[in-house]
């Protein structure tokens, strides 16, 4: 049981490595990361009706092994660095017009050089897996020790180191309120939300640091400014891609950042769309749960938002079903629906009506009525 509970959370590390190997092998294998994303969407859709609770032994102890899970999360930092390095390597080859030939290494054939089309595949693969990897940046942001720094470094690979502070000190405290840019109000589509949430979280971190340094009597233009420091953590990635491919490299890194941050904001969008909190403590009803089996295992239980937002420092393997509002389908399937805003509006309508009726307080209902939905 212990092995099963811990091994089931290794899907992303395993698939991230496959995506890296795909880019290294080259040719059409550069698209493997995109293919895996499509495969995951299919699996998630087919298993949407399987919902499992967290597993505990007879004494109520979790089967999760903290040292193992934390080691995996920390090890994801070099994995995501490797993802960028192999993409930069391919960009370098493309830029140098390296001949596209089949070579062999230890008996394995791989393609040296890369076509423009397959470079697009490698870039999209990197963006998708950097974005999915943000689940580790999220989990570690709740760690007050070295995990917090690892979270910042993972997020910096996608140009979003500000997330770590904004998530804990803005999103968790202001959830369901317009002060939280990561909560999407009713009527907003995922594309607008991705922009506003990203900019809003960075803005929060920027203001937070200005106020902190002002209280200390320091200038905001200071290396102690954690907003500035967070962006500086992204500098090695930028230099690598500039050096590897000039304009092409910058365009590729920009694409990776856009895709990765879009996926991050999609998770925020799906976790809280349209839910409202009028003062008072954060309760289970202020998040959408998403606990179909594949989503739970793949996203290391990030879909158990209702429990997570009430017990923010609880390890992901201990999060459980709390019978909060639930879309009933997994994140991959829901993500596809959110990409088509008119379809999402129709889909979400019945869930919002249900929330208004069964979960909302009288004050929250009044706010809900103000939305022309």
């Amino acid at each position: 049981m212990k092995f099963y509970v811990n091994a089931r959370y290794l899907i992303v590390p395993f698939m991230s490595l496959i995506a890296i190997v795909g880019i290294l092998f080259g040719g059409s294998f550069a698209w493997v990361g995109v293919g895996l994303f499509a495969l995951n969407t299919l699996i998630d859709t087919l298993t949407k009706n399987i919902h499992l609770a967290a597993d505990f032994d007879d004494s109520g102890e979790s089967y999760g092994i903290k040292k193992l899970q934390y080691s995996v999360m920390f090890l994801m930092l070099p994995v995501f660095i490797a993802l960028q390095v192999v993409l930069a390597y391919r960009i370098f080859q493309y830029n140098a017009d390296a001949p596209i030939v089949i070579n062999s290494f230890l008996g394995l054939s791989y393609q040296a050089g890369i076509s423009g089309f397959n470079l697009i595949g490698a870039t999209v693969s990197s963006g998708l897996w950097a974005g999915l990897g943000i689940i580790y940046g999220h989990e570690l942001s709740h760690n007050k020790k070295e995990g917090f720094l690892v979270s910042r470094l993972i997020m910096a690979l996608s140009g979003a180191a500000h997330f770590t502070y904004a998530h804990v000190y803005n999103h968790h405290l202001d959830l369901g309120h317009e002060d939280d840019p990561a909560t999407a109000p009713r009527g907003r589509n995922i594309y607008t939300h991705a922009w506003l949430s990203h900019m809003g979280q960075s803005r929060f971190s920027y203001i937070l640091e200005q106020q902190r340094l002002r209280k200390r009597g320091s200038s905001a233009l200071n290396i102690d400014n954690r907003w500035i420091l967070g962006y500086l953590y992204s500098l090695p990635s930028i230099v690598l891609f500039v050096w590897a491919g000039g304009g092409v490299g910058v365009a590729a890194l920009f694409s990776v950042w856009v895709i990765a941050n879009f996926l991050l904001e999609a998770l925020n969008f799906m976790g809280h769309y349209g839910l409202i909190r009028k003062d008072g403590p954060v309760e289970h009803r202020h998040s959408w749960d998403n606990d179909s089996v594949f989503t739970s295992w793949f996203f290391i239980e990030i879909g158990r938002q209702c429990d997570h937002h009430v017990r923010g420092e609880t390890y992901f393997w201990e999060l459980d079903d709390v019978e909060g509002p639930n879309y009933g389908i997994g994140y991959f399937s829901l993500f596809v629906i959110t990409l088509i805003p008119p379809l999402f509006r129709v889909y979400v309508q019945k869930h919002l009506e249900n929330w208004d009726e069964k979960y909302a307080s009288a004050e929250e209902k009044l706010i809900a009525q103000k939305f022309a939905y």
């Binding site: 140009g159 809003g200 992204s234 230099v239 500039v242 000039g246 304009g247």
Partner: protein, 71 residues
């Protein structure tokens, strides 16, 4: 309106930096590591200035749930 103004200013600022980089020959020398570091720092600063421009010009209106100003 403020958001559009912010996006316009950000675009002008980015184009200015891109033109300056082109004018100094960044597109020819980027494979020199020192140049790559210089260009990287310039691009990062451009991005950070863009963020601050957006924060300052757009303000907090885009985040208000019942504001007409979103994008």
């Amino acid at each position: 309106m403020n958001t559009l103004k912010a996006l316009l200013i950000m675009s002008i600022w980015t184009l200015l930096i891109a033109s300056a980089l082109y004018a100094v020959g960044a597109h020819k020398y980027y494979q020199d590591l020192v140049w790559a570091i210089g260009i990287g720092i310039t691009l990062l600063l451009t991005h950070m200035v863009n963020m601050v421009l957006y924060f300052r010009v757009a303000g907090d209106k885009p985040y208000k749930w019942f504001s007409s100003e979103v994008l």
